[in-house]
Amino acid sequence: MTAILWFSAALVALSALAGLWVVARSAGRRLRQSRLEGQAERVRLLLESARKDESAGLDKLLFDLRRNYDSEALGGQLQRALEVNVERGESIEPIAKAFRRLGLVESYRGQVRNAKAWRDRAQAARVLGMIRDAASVQVLLEAMRDEREDADVKLAAAEALTALDDPSVIPVLCAELSHVDEWSSPRLAALLERFGAEAVAALLATLDSAESPNARIWAAQILGKIGDHRATQPLIGRLHDRSPQMRMSAASALGDVGDLRAVRPLIDIVLRDPVAAVRAQAAASLGRIGDADAVPVLVGCLGDPEYWMRFRALEAIEALAPEDTSPIEAALEDTNPEVRLRAALALERLGRLEAAFAALDSGDPAVVEAARIKLIAVGRAGLSERFIRHLTDPIERVRANICHVLGAAGERRHAQQLAARLGDESREVRLAAIGALGDLGSGGTAAAIVSQFEEKDAEVREGAADALRRFQAEDLDSIGELLVQKLASQSDATRWCALRVLAILPGASIDQTLIRALQDRFVEVRYEAVRALGDRRVVAAVDAIGASLADAHEPLCVAAADALGAIGGERALSLLLTRVRSAGRAQRDAICRGIAKVGFDALGPVLDVLLGTNDTNARVAAAWTLGKTADPDAVPLLSALLEDGAAEVRSSAAGALGKIHVPDSARALGRAVRDPSPFVRAAVVNAIGYVGEEGDLVALADCLADPDAFVRNRAAISVGLIGTAWAYAELVATPPGSVSAAFMVIALGLTGVPDAVGAAVSLLAAQPTRAAVAAALEREPDRIRERFAANVKLGARDADDSMDPEQLAERIIRALKNSQEPLQRRRAVAALSNIPTERATTAVLEAARNDPDVDVRLRAVGALAERTGTAEVDAVLLDCVLDPAPTVRVEAIRAAGSFAHRDQAGPLFESLRAADEAVVLAAEHALSHVYRDSVLHLLDWMMGQTRPSLIASSLRIVERIADSRSLGLLQHLVTGSAVEVRVEAALALAALHDVEAVRVLMAALDDPVERVRASVVTALARSSRNDVMDRFDKLRLDPSVMVRTALATSLFQIKNTRALDVLERLATDQHLDVRAAAFHSLLACPDLEGQHRFLALWSDLDNSTRRRVEAGTADLADQLEAQLATSLDSPARELAVRVLASLGAGVHGERIAIALGDPDPRVRLVAIEALSTLDADRISDWLANVIDDPVAKVRTAARRLLVKLV
């Protein structure tokens, strides 16, 4: 008990002591605070009086302060004084001095690192900054770099460093750049940037010699921000640093500096740096520098494999604001969506979109179309919302065009805005909006479009139905009921529109709706319903459609026959068979077409019906149906029908046999030429004409002597259609008068045999014959009329065989001089060209110079070209070189090239200026002959020209001549200023096949313009030198698609494995053009290894590249076929089959089939495998060659394939 009492008392005492201690401590603090406040107030008053009386001795004051007052109170008041001075913009130097004299600076430095509270550390840093104490740099830097330090303290340290504003700290700050510190480094950089020109020297030293890459990189960036031109050269030097980051920073900094001296080095980087990010930065900098010379390079970059390189290039081009924005427009089709959008933005910022909007109101359709195309591309690139405000443009044409553009751009999010235009006051706009909504196919607008069915304007109604038919069926689900309701409308037009749309909706209920519509009162509705039911193959509709077979409206009953034919089945066939006997011609044709669809093998029951009656129409229908099957198995039956009692049936059978081109049908027709009915015989000879040379020509020729004139005339036409020398001979041998003059002329003309056509033309000289021919042709089918017109030009006779040659020549010369008919003069010139008299030549000379008809002059020049060598002829030909007609010029230039001396070359040089490409080409060719031995004179002429196009043209001539004396000049021209000249100079250099020329070309691969580089690549590849491969390998990274495509296209000419390696890499290039070219080049390699690599890459190829490659392989397929047919090496032939199969067995099946006769069974096997993807009809004949192959494996493979196909 006592112990407990003592313990309690002790506790009470302790509590009392603790309470006393707390009270005492608090009182002490209050006392100290009070004292400090008192001191601070006195210090403040002293400092205030010192500020008022600057003459008072500061040192004495400071002495007093230090002696009498607490340092904390002093520091606090000095800080406040400092802040006041800073706020007032007054000098802080006296107070800073006070800090130093009182020893407070050291104290604050210590606080920056050691004070316990972060507020104190931050405040100390701020004070050091305010008093601009340069010696505190290190402390502040340490605080700023301390990873564990509070962010506010670090920030205060950074701000303090900024406030120091003392150039002496620059080297220290530069040295600090070597630390990798994401927080501090940007602040140091900002600090150094504030020093501006004062920091340049130290930064250049850092850029030049700092060991840390980080320091060099920051130095470059800060130098760029400062923008001092002293940095240009050192930064250019860093463009080739080993560190990509350094190169990128240097490129960026050069863009900031904006010195034109950096343009060329930056172009070099754009073209050649292996790191895309560096290339992109260089491109961006070129844009910022703003030198227009960079535009071609940047345009080339739009083909760079890296999309962000293309993105940057677009930014740069936009910054340069070129006049020609077509490269930006081309980028609207870029494969990358971001690039497309960037291109669209660039066009907008360059004001080209506003121009396009304005062009939508142009009266010139071509201008409007161009603007629409541009805007559509912009819309597809993602900027279509810019178009919306133009939907309410006051000009209706603009509104309509914008509707069209929005539809084509395909952004469904604008569908509602377009739907709002359906209420536009302008019919044109409403139509455009409907069309656009059809393009978008947005389900939300379907009901609005349906509302247009009630429009009075038929075009609007039909447009609305057409638009909805372009929707996906699932997007029309919401209006299915609405459409059915519309079918109950009183308006015929509304029901018709609704039915057309319903027709594309799936579902059995729609089928029923369509069947009900067959009862509609409006025939057009019934017609649409029949067609739809046929397209949908609705078996349940057969009987309902059958009812329409007898409709009074012929198009409907024909459509019903077609629909039943499409649906097929016994019931449909039965209905068709029932109808066929009473059908009109058009419907019978449709019925037979429908029946024939079941195929010959299934026709048995049908034929039983058709042929088992005495109804002539039924048997005629049977013949027509058999003809439409085009099945050779139908020939015996048709041959039998040639014996039918009814002439109409026999003639129908003959017509049907004419459609089946097999020997049996030809033989049957040959027999039928003796049919008792002239009507039938005429049908037979017509059919033989359609069969062609395979037909019974002897029988046909006999028909030229048929007792019936109509048959003879038809026989003449068929003979003419055969179109061989035999035909001409038969026609000529026909007794005069047995064939009417008109049919004889047509027959002669149809042959196309020159003499026969000439004879036809002679006969046409008589006006009555011409009229009769015209009348007869009117009754012939199109194919005969067209063939006749193609062979024969109407004209008049100009020669009389009975005259002697001199008289004939005089007559022709007179015709040439006097005839008003160009055709007659043409024929006269042609005739005179074979008459070697002086008078004939003079007449031709005259015609060449003066005839108003181009064709006459052309023929005259052609005739004179055979007679060069006399001064007169040569002079006229040289005159004709400058004829106004390009065709005449080309002919004259070709002639002049064979005789002209360089003194006569003036007109040929003049021709190099022609607008017509063929003229220029001919002139280049001719001049290459003229200057073959005097290239120096050609070069003299060339160097006197100022137009680059003329110099380029001359260089093509130099290329043809390939004289080593041109080397020196070409070396200079390939580095000249005109792009066109550099391009051609490169090709001319390659033609020299000279080591020095190759060296020059290798240097020219650095040309900044993509066209030139592409040309150099082509040129170097032609030299077929292996030592170019190092450079070519690097060119894979060239930013220009044109260059990479040129590389891919050309590489097959270099015969080594490295070329194939490069091609293999190019085959996976980002750009489709490059990939396709690489694949073509692999195939074109003379080495089979190229084909092997092609096959290895082919299986992983995307579809778009495959399509492109396949589209361009016509020549290569010929080459592969030759390899297959002629190579003595079995693996090579096998390879050819495999490659052809990969390019498409469907396309190259016939080529592959050649391999079925290959001597090597392995090749035959590969061919069978390659053909296995084709359908039976196509390959069964081919497989017949190997079905009994002596090699069991081949035999088995062929038979298995046949069985599988069957």
């Binding site: 003299d940 002429w941 160097m943 006197g944 020209q945 000049l969 200079h972 200023s977």
Partner: protein, 127 residues
């Protein structure tokens, strides 16, 4: 050697250029003949060989290079020095001027003092 005994043939299709150059050459004592095209230049040389010829490259008929080559077929560089002057002044033009036998190439518009110095140097005047 005195310039007053020397004849300079000035060939240019620009009459103003011909007049300005001729007037300046006359002021330093040269006799001056002129031609406006290449054929005219060759005709003038046929009439009497000048001491030096100053010729533009781009002329209506025969150009400066063609004239130069034609002249060199008959006269050497010492017999008839040629100064080609032209607005076409790329490296290739200079190179070709040398190849066709021109003694000097001056860009246009030319500094007349430089032209006179060049002519005097070619004629060895004032040495």
């Amino acid at each position: 050697m005195s310039s007053s005994t020397k004849t300079v043939l000035v060939v240019d299709d620009d009459k103003d250029v011909v007049e300005v150059v001729s007037a300046r050459l006359r002021t330093v004592g040269f006799r001056v003949e002129t031609a406006l095209d290449g054929t005219g230049a060759l005709t003038a040389i046929e009439r009497g060989r000048p001491s030096v010829m100053v010729i533009d490259i781009v002329l209506p008929d025969l150009n400066g290079f063609q004239v130069c080559r034609a002249v060199r077929e008959k006269w050497s560089a010492e017999d008839l020095p040629i100064v080609i002057q032209s607005g076409k002044s790329e490296a290739a033009d200079r190179y070709w001027a040398e190849q066709v036998g021109a003694n000097a190439f001056l860009p246009k518009p030319c500094d007349l003092r430089e032209l006179i110095t060049t002519i005097e140097s070619l004629l060895d005047i004032g040495k």
